[in-house]
């Protein structure tokens, strides 16, 4: 394994959703917390892609915000290339910050509607001081626009003149403008149409190859994740339940939740499966089930699952957080289909 560029250990983020003090006093009721991220560990080797998948409330977007310093962890450590990223973005030295960038999900909200595109792309260069001279900066902006498949003349336009896919290209141009090494991508293709999605995914793969980028890719779409990832982490209600190389996850998923996800993804090649299996829904993150959070929906849950939270442990190539797996109660998943 090449040297890790990012190591996350015991990362936690708890949000306090309690009512104001006076309301609690008069109406009763205790404090309410949401453990959005509940002890997450992973390592990303340089030049590879780790994807985090999960459904609503699993905490993957919060992990993204924690890594970028948009919010502070409640506990745990984030080490980027040897530097400890404690605290907020402002507390991290600029030299480190410049090397980490982010691409967002909503192409309509991630660009300032009142700014011209050239100014948007040039902002990181200006604020990190990589290109203080405006003329040089503009030249670099033009070069970036061409690099992501737009044209230099597009720098004079406003975001609303572009389609969703083009806006994501602008976002990508902005993100790579300071020559970062690490990119957090928060569902960058979820808001795009399928045919545009392919363009953006291809662009991102090409950029990774040419610029040696490391990605943390967040998505709910397993097929997209399959195409772009080296490692995949499955999250459920704030916990990583399985972390494995991409082909392992699809060929031999261990955790019952991973299996459920794979089973329920609508598949264009498997028409009309019978999927009337009751699978429940993701519970409210404020009051998660006790023990293993997945036990109410799990066909393999036993008494221990209800009371004791499982520990993240290696199981072959994968790491799994599941009593059933660790007790050997799961049968190997039949290969979903060949190829």
């Amino acid at each position: 394994m090449t040297d890790p560029i990012l190591t996350v250990t015991g990362l936690k983020k708890t949000f306090d959703l309690s009512q104001p003090f006076l309301t609690r006093l008069t109406q009763g009721g205790g404090r309410k917390y949401v453990h959005a991220v509940d002890g997450v560990d992973f390592t990303i080797p340089r030049g590879t892609t780790l994807s985090l998948v999960g459904e609503s409330g699993c905490g993957k977007s919060t992990v993204a915000k924690l890594l970028m310093g948009l919010t502070q962890p409640s506990a745990g450590s984030i080490r980027f290339d040897g530097h400890e990223l404690a605290g907020t973005r402002a507390g991290q030295p600029p030299a480190v910050r410049r090397r980490m960038q982010m691409i967002f999900q909503d192409p309509y909200a991630s660009l300032n509607p009142r700014w011209r595109v050239a100014r948007i792309i040039g902002e990181p260069m200006k604020s990190f001081g990589t290109h203080p001279d405006p003329v040089a900066r503009r030249k670099e902006v033009d070069r970036l626009l061409e690099f992501v498949g737009l044209s230099a003349a597009d720098g004079e336009k406003f975001p609303h003149e572009f389609s969703g896919g083009q806006r994501q290209r602008i976002s990508i141009a902005r993100a790579i403008s300071t020559k970062p090494e690490f990119l957090v991508c928060d569902e960058p293709t979820s808001a795009l149409d399928v045919s545009v999605q392919a363009q953006i995914l291809n662009l991102m793969r090409e950029l990774q190859r040419e610029l040696g980028l490391t990605y943390l890719f967040i998505s709910h779409d397993l097929a997209v994740v399959n195409y772009i990832s080296d490692q995949i982490g499955v999250m459920y209600l704030g916990r990583l339940v399985e972390l494995a190389p991409a082909d392992r996850i699809f060929a031999a998923p261990q955790h019952p939740y991973t299996r459920l996800l794979l089973d329920t993804v609508p598949d264009i090649t498997m028409a009309h499966r019978d999927m009337d299996r009751p699978a429940g829904e993701v519970p409210n993150p404020i009051t998660p089930p006790s023990g293993c959070h997945f036990h109410p929906r799990c066909p393999l849950a036993n008494e221990r699952c209800r009371t004791e939270a499982p520990v993240f442990r290696a199981h072959g190539d994968s790491q799994v957080r599941c009593h059933a797996v660790q007790e050997g109660r799961t049968d190997p998943m039949p290969l979903r289909k060949a190829g």
Partner: protein
């Protein structure tokens, strides 16, 4: 791997404005065109008052007391030199209206500007910073709103008069008025801007700016401010009408512009006292002009609000 974008030369800002939806809406709307023509006429009249007026009504040397209380020129007894008649001090009403309009508009614009600057700043601050700062600003706003604007203006006025020596009252009147009206009207700007700021603050382009190390102040001024100014324009336009009316009310009550520098409201007050002696023109004409101004401004403001409302497009 290119994207098929059509490359066009970028039009200038003015061209973009002319081609925009708002301009197109304007060209189609009767009320917008009529009210803006009216406003332009009134603004021009006020601006060029010294040129358009037949006399300077504040210069006592230009007044001939024998010409006092003359009716308008088309009525028997009138004098063509004094087109709309004269008041009890032989001041030409037409000229007085021009100068009065000027004062009314100056006070109106200045107070709106003051209210906007204060309101936008506080709204941005409160919406962006949140927490106790926001709470404090909103509580001050709530308290201010629970007082009728006229009363607050009277209060400010009274304090000013108490502080200033009597000979300065007349000069200071205009500033006191601007201050009084401006300080009572900032709340609506603050509220709107605060709401919009809180929405924009959550958007991803603000997060991107934070990631790129832009300071809080930088984000507020360069990122958020341009995006929250839209509704402000509408508020300011409608507010202008209200400010002019408030000034007229204060002057009518005797605590606004003095008789030596009358605004439209003062003129109405003066004329009111003589109404029952049959001298109707001193009240009617300034009132008509005042109503026309406020009506035109309000109509334009209403049109602007609908034209800028993205949901109605």
């Amino acid at each position: 791997m290119t994207d098929t974008t059509q490359i066009k030369t970028t039009p200038s800002a003015l061209t973009r404005l002319w081609n925009s939806d708002v301009a197109w809406n304007f060209r189609r709307s009767w009320t917008a065109r009529i009210s803006s023509v009216l406003i332009l006429i009134l603004f021009a009249a006020a601006l060029f008052a010294p040129l358009l007026a037949t006399q300077n009504p504040y210069d006592i040397s230009q007044l001939f007391l024998l010409d006092s209380e003359l009716p308008p020129a088309w009525i028997e007894g009138g004098d063509p030199r004094y087109f709309l008649g004269t008041d009890e001090q032989a001041r030409d009403l037409y000229s007085s209206i021009l100068y009065g309009l000027r004062l009314s508009l100056i006070v109106g614009f200045a107070s709106v500007a003051l209210a906007a600057v204060v309101g936008i700043s506080l709204g941005l601050l409160g919406g962006f910073v949140g927490g106790m700062v926001d709470g404090a600003i909103m509580r001050v706003a709530d308290i201010l709103l629970s007082f009728p604007a006229i009363l607050v203006a009277l209060l400010v006025n009274g304090i000013a008069r108490g502080v200033l020596p009597p000979e300065r009252h007349a000069d200071a009147a205009i500033w006191v008025l601007i201050l009084a009206i401006g300080l009572t009207n900032w709340v609506q700007y603050a509220r709107t801007v605060r709401g919009s700021t809180m929405v924009e603050r959550q958007k991803e382009y603000v997060q991107a700016a934070r990631i790129n190390g832009v300071s809080g102040m930088g984000i507020m001024l360069h990122h958020i401010l341009p995006n929250v100014l839209g509704p402000v324009l509408v508020i300011a336009t409608i507010n202008l009408g209200m400010a002019v009316l408030t000034e007229a009310t204060l002057s009518f009550l005797g605590v606004g512009m003095p008789a030596t520098q009358p605004s439209l409201g003062t003129l109405i007050r003066i004329g009111n006292e003589y109404l029952f002696s049959g001298i109707w023109w001193v009240v009617i004409f300034p009132s008509v002009v005042l109503v026309a101004l406020v009506l035109a401004v309000n109509l334009l403001g209403d049109w602007l609000r609908d034209a800028l409302n993205p949901k109605l497009r």
